[in-house]
């Protein structure tokens, strides 16, 4: 069985044609990535898992050596710019790069998860350079290292980021110096980040006094400590990460028939598929950082002509610990105006400075009672806002 039978048919037919004509392949061979690159690629995709494991291992082997406070440097901030020094082989000089490390609640229904993303792009460009990150379900209050991500910047090394909670006072480098996590508005509820900026060749320069020039970019070599200098022992618990979820094509259940329900008053929106928590809306008492539970979603479409179809994904988020309590801001760092809040709205420079990561697509959120309605997709911010305002949710904690 195949998910895309039309693609398989085309590929088989094209393979027959190529074999029949014995046409030599014209495209450059995609170079088999080096093992290190493949590891980085895999880490970028599974960063939360892999680097948490690395962090745990790192913590386990950390020594108890005392450190001089003046050795500490503050991490590069969660978002900013850097301008790597030109490598001796680089022509022309390398342009300034912008980066952003972000967190947001996971939107997978039935899960109480955190997602992170790392985005790098050339300053002034509208195209992202690279993006990555991942989501991790059920981060408990014994789990202090949310995860990290490594993003390669072509020709410029790699940018590494590790998200840590408030228990982590600093990270210890192999040379004994310390890095203090940076906090930021778009990292919620006491979470911080340790950012290691890329090096070009053997050296780099960075803007701002908080930068860390020339730091080794291997997150796995960092050791994490609490305020008393003790190694951080972080414990991941992943049993039962999801509440029971039901799915159906079209609209989900009517109000009152499930803990969370979604309806739209806009007749031009066509419901495509829905998923919702089918059992009790059960909170988890031991979450780290006010994580939120995604309790229902419906995908909508508007229009029929293939090139004009607008797709929207509507998700309901409730407080993960106590679903009946007012949920925290859906997108950390956003500013709420008339009930609406968008990722990045409160960041420096306003919405134009948003760097939506690979996971955090353009989105709008609207407060609805104790819950948040999140709308992703669509052609414009105004249309997303309008869709959000057409949505009615029912939440039965």
């Amino acid at each position: 069985m195949t998910r895309l039978p039309a693609l398989e048919r085309q590929l088989v037919a094209t393979a027959e044609r190529l074999d029949a004509t014995a046409t030599p392949a014209a495209a450059p061979s995609p170079a088999a990535p080096s093992r290190r690159r493949r590891l980085l690629a895999w880490i970028a995709g599974h960063s939360l898992l892999a680097l948490a494991g690395t962090g745990l291992a790192a913590a386990a082997v950390a020594t108890g050596s005392a450190l001089v406070l003046s050795d500490a440097q503050r991490s590069a901030p969660a978002s900013g710019t850097f301008r790597p020094r030109p490598d001796w082989a680089s022509q022309p000089p390398l342009p300034e790069q912008r980066y952003s490390v972000e967190m947001q609640p996971g939107l997978a229904v039935g899960r109480t998860s955190w997602c992170s993303s790392v985005t790098v792009r050339r300053a002034g460009s509208t195209a992202r350079g690279t993006g990555g990150g991942g989501c991790l379900a059920y981060v408990t209050d014994r789990d202090h290292l949310l995860g990290g991500s490594i993003q390669s910047v072509p020709g410029r090394g790699s940018l590494s980021a590790m998200i840590v909670d408030q228990t982590v006072a600093y990270a210890l480098r192999p040379d004994g110096t310390r890095i203090v996590p940076a906090r930021g508005r778009h990292l919620p509820n006491g979470w911080g980040v340790i950012v290691v900026l890329p090096r070009a060749g053997r050296a780099s320069s960075t803007r701002g006094t908080d930068a860390l020039p020339g730091l080794d970019d291997t997150l796995g070599r960092l050791r994490f400590r609490d305020a008393a200098g003790r190694p951080i022992t972080s414990r991941r618990i992943l049993h039962d990460p999801s509440l029971p979820v039901a799915r159906r094509r079209g609209l989900g259940p009517a109000a009152g028939a499930a803990p969370c329900t979604i309806r739209s008053s806009d007749p031009t929106l066509r419901p495509v598929a829905s998923a919702w928590v089918s059992g009790e809306l059960r909170g988890r008492p031991d979450l780290n950082g006010r994580a939120m539970l995604s309790c229902a979603t419906t995908g909508f479409r508007r229009g029929h002509a293939e090139h004009r179809v607008e797709r929207y994904q509507v998700v309901v988020l409730v407080d993960g610990e106590r679903p009946g309590r007012a949920a925290p801001m859906a997108f950390p760092g956003a500013t709420e105006r008339d009930g609406l809040a968008r990722p990045g709205l409160g960041m420096q420079g306003g919405p134009g400075d948003i760097l939506p990561g690979a996971l955090q697509r353009r989105a709008t959120s609207l407060r609805s009672g104790n819950a948040w309605i999140v709308v992703q997709g669509g052609a414009s911010r105004a249309r997303r806002d309008a869709v959000a305002r057409s949505i009615t949710v029912g939440v039965r904690p």
Binding site: L4, L11, A108, R361
Partner: protein
């Protein structure tokens, strides 16, 4: 009598005829779709990127060298290149699809639902990996995902080769138990 395609290796299928390539496509389709779905969050974009990835694999399949690694790793490298180039250019890569004259995919709601399901299945596998001890997961990733040999892994993990083998073996058993316990 030809061997059952299910029992043939990826490398054999890649070196085979057009039908073999179809078998290879079916074998890896879910993994590639899930790879892109996780990173883009969109079923339609994941489908387009998957099409470009397999088009590139098809075009370059005669240059595959088994001595350089396994087909899965090669395919993963292609997928990553397709993703990075798409992100750099701000649009979905379709260069090789156009060169091979593959038609644009037309997806209906059922197709998109299928892709979401494929991504969901992959998430379950990632959850299972996260649920086993970190040292087992580390060994499995090093050996199976990264295809490193045991001596190199042992040096990197600071233990003996036999310990790495043991971790891989036990980790796979735990992984299987976990997946079987959660259908």
């Amino acid at each position: 009598m030809p061997r059952d395609p299910r029992h043939r290796s990826d490398a054999e299928l890649l070196a085979g005829d057009a039908e073999d390539f179809g078998t290879l496509y079916r074998r890896h389709e879910d993994a590639v779709l899930a790879f892109f779905h996780r990173r883009t969050g969109r079923a339609d974009v994941a489908a387009d990127l998957t099409a470009e990835t397999f088009a590139r694999l098809l075009e370059s399949r005669r240059r595959f060298d088994a001595a350089q690694g396994e087909v899965g790793g090669w395919l993963h490298g292609i997928a990553r290149n397709v993703l990075l180039r798409s992100l750099e250019r701000g649009r979905v890569e379709d260069e090789v699809r156009r060169r091979l004259e593959l038609e644009p995919l037309r997806l209906d709601d059922a197709d998109l639902l299928q892709i979401d399901e494929a991504a969901s299945a992959s998430t379950r596998a990632a959850d299972a990996l996260a649920a086993i001890p970190p040292e087992h997961a580390e060994a499995i990733v090093g050996r199976i995902v990264d295809e490193r040999d045991y001596p190199a892994l042992a040096a990197e993990l600071g233990c003996s080769e036999s310990v790495v083998r043991q971790r891989v073996s036990r980790g796979l058993r735990r992984l299987r138990d976990h997946l079987e316990a959660r259908p």
